[in-house]
Amino acid sequence: MNSEQARFILRVFRPGVDRPDAPEFAQAFDRLRQDPELAEWFEREMAGDAAIRRKLSEAVVFPPGLREPVAASGKVVRTGPRVWWRRPTLVALAASVVLLLALGIQHVRREPNRSEVFVAFRESVVTAGQEKPHISFMDSSLPRVREYLQSQRVPDPPALPARLQPGMIKGCRVLEWNGRKVSLICLDFGEQGHVDLFVIQDVAWDPTGPRSGSGPLMAQTGGMNTVSWTENGCTYILAAKASPEALRRLLSV
């Protein structure tokens, strides 16, 4: 494979999504390692793609109130070809029914005196995360941060969310909550300062916590906006003094 052919293939590579050792990319990356000029070109190409990706993400504004009609789509028996949702009154009615149902279900699920374990956990770690020293292990290398966390016998994230690039890492710290260790990984967040990623393993949350496979939970805690989710046996909390939208963008793919 020559450099031109490698260039053609490398320009469709997506960092964090595609694997350099995948059959369709492996030869091109072999060539990249032998060709400094190609490597320099590749770096610029990826930076250009990242800039476009950010702009496209910013350009799409989710219309308020779209989710409810979408959720209601499955609750309404259709009597004709795609007509009901073109009528605002029916959309509003369907959305109201779903909203009432959701509120009703939530009311039933939440017992009055049940401790809101996850809410307490979130508030506790986000507050503790703001205490000084903010991080105890300063290093911008993800492998070295992981190595440090493993040496402390605390959870290191199986994978960083796609938008959290390893290059953003500033360091980490270990917190403790109810006898359990929690990882705090601090990442650079440009003009908005820094963003903290908290990771804890294997906790069965009450219904107020994020369920595995469900969408992220947004909340304001300790003067910071947070977004939480559970996957791969870990619960993650991302916290920053940034807008909820900016946090959501960090997670969006």
């Binding site: 793609d49 989710r67 979408v70 959720a71 499955g74 073109r86 496979g213 969006s252």
Partner: protein
């Protein structure tokens, strides 16, 4: 799929689905309708989707089919033709992109011919693997890559000359000149 799983699917997928719909449709209201229709079909077919890991690609494929159906019936989204070829375009400058308005970048994407725009939008969304994009478009993976590559050329051309995206016209497009490109297309 139980109703609760449908609710979960809405929570997880409506934003990426809307984002994809917005890359296809030129208006927010059309994108909203596309998203609703795709989810409506997901609900109807929920019992036939056994493997929930395939749900996202199923939804995206359905959304795209709905879009194609509407386009055939109503011609809502007229095509912009591809015109003369241009080679050796400069690389896109991240600083230049950062100075662009986000809406202009989306507008430039919309100005690209659909068969290049759709894979390019999916490329920038990072939601689907190349295998899934190929299945969605019903073309070989090499063709997907070729179309993305050519779509990137068109996009950079439009971003370099912002006025070109302000209205319909003939968009310069580079040729599939290398042997690799020719093999893929």
């Amino acid at each position: 799929m139980e109703d609760s799983r449908y609710e979960d699917a809405v929570s997880q997928l409506y934003e990426p689905a809307y984002r994809f719909a917005r890359s296809l449709a030129r208006s927010e209201s059309d994108a909203g309708e596309l998203t609703q229709e795709a989810f409506s079909r997901l609900f109807e077919k929920r019992d036939s989707i056994r493997d929930e890991s395939k749900m996202k690609s199923w939804l995206f494929t359905t959304l795209y089919r709905v879009f194609l159906g509407w386009k055939r019936r109503e011609n809502r989204w007229p095509q912009v033709e591809i015109g003369e070829a241009e080679a050796d375009l400069p690389q896109i400058d991240p600083q230049q992109v950062s100075r662009c308005e986000a809406a202009d970048v989306l507008g430039a994407l919309h100005a690209i011919e659909e068969r290049y725009r759709v894979p390019l939008a999916l490329f920038y969304m990072d939601d689907l693997s190349y295998e899934e994009i190929a299945a969605l478009l019903e073309v070989p993976m090499g063709t997907v890559m070729s179309r993305i590559s050519r779509g990137k050329d068109a996009l950079r051309k439009l971003l370099a000359e912002p006025k070109a995206s302000s209205g319909p016209g003939i968009l310069p497009f580079p040729p599939a000149s290398t042997s690799t490109q020719a093999a893929h297309e």
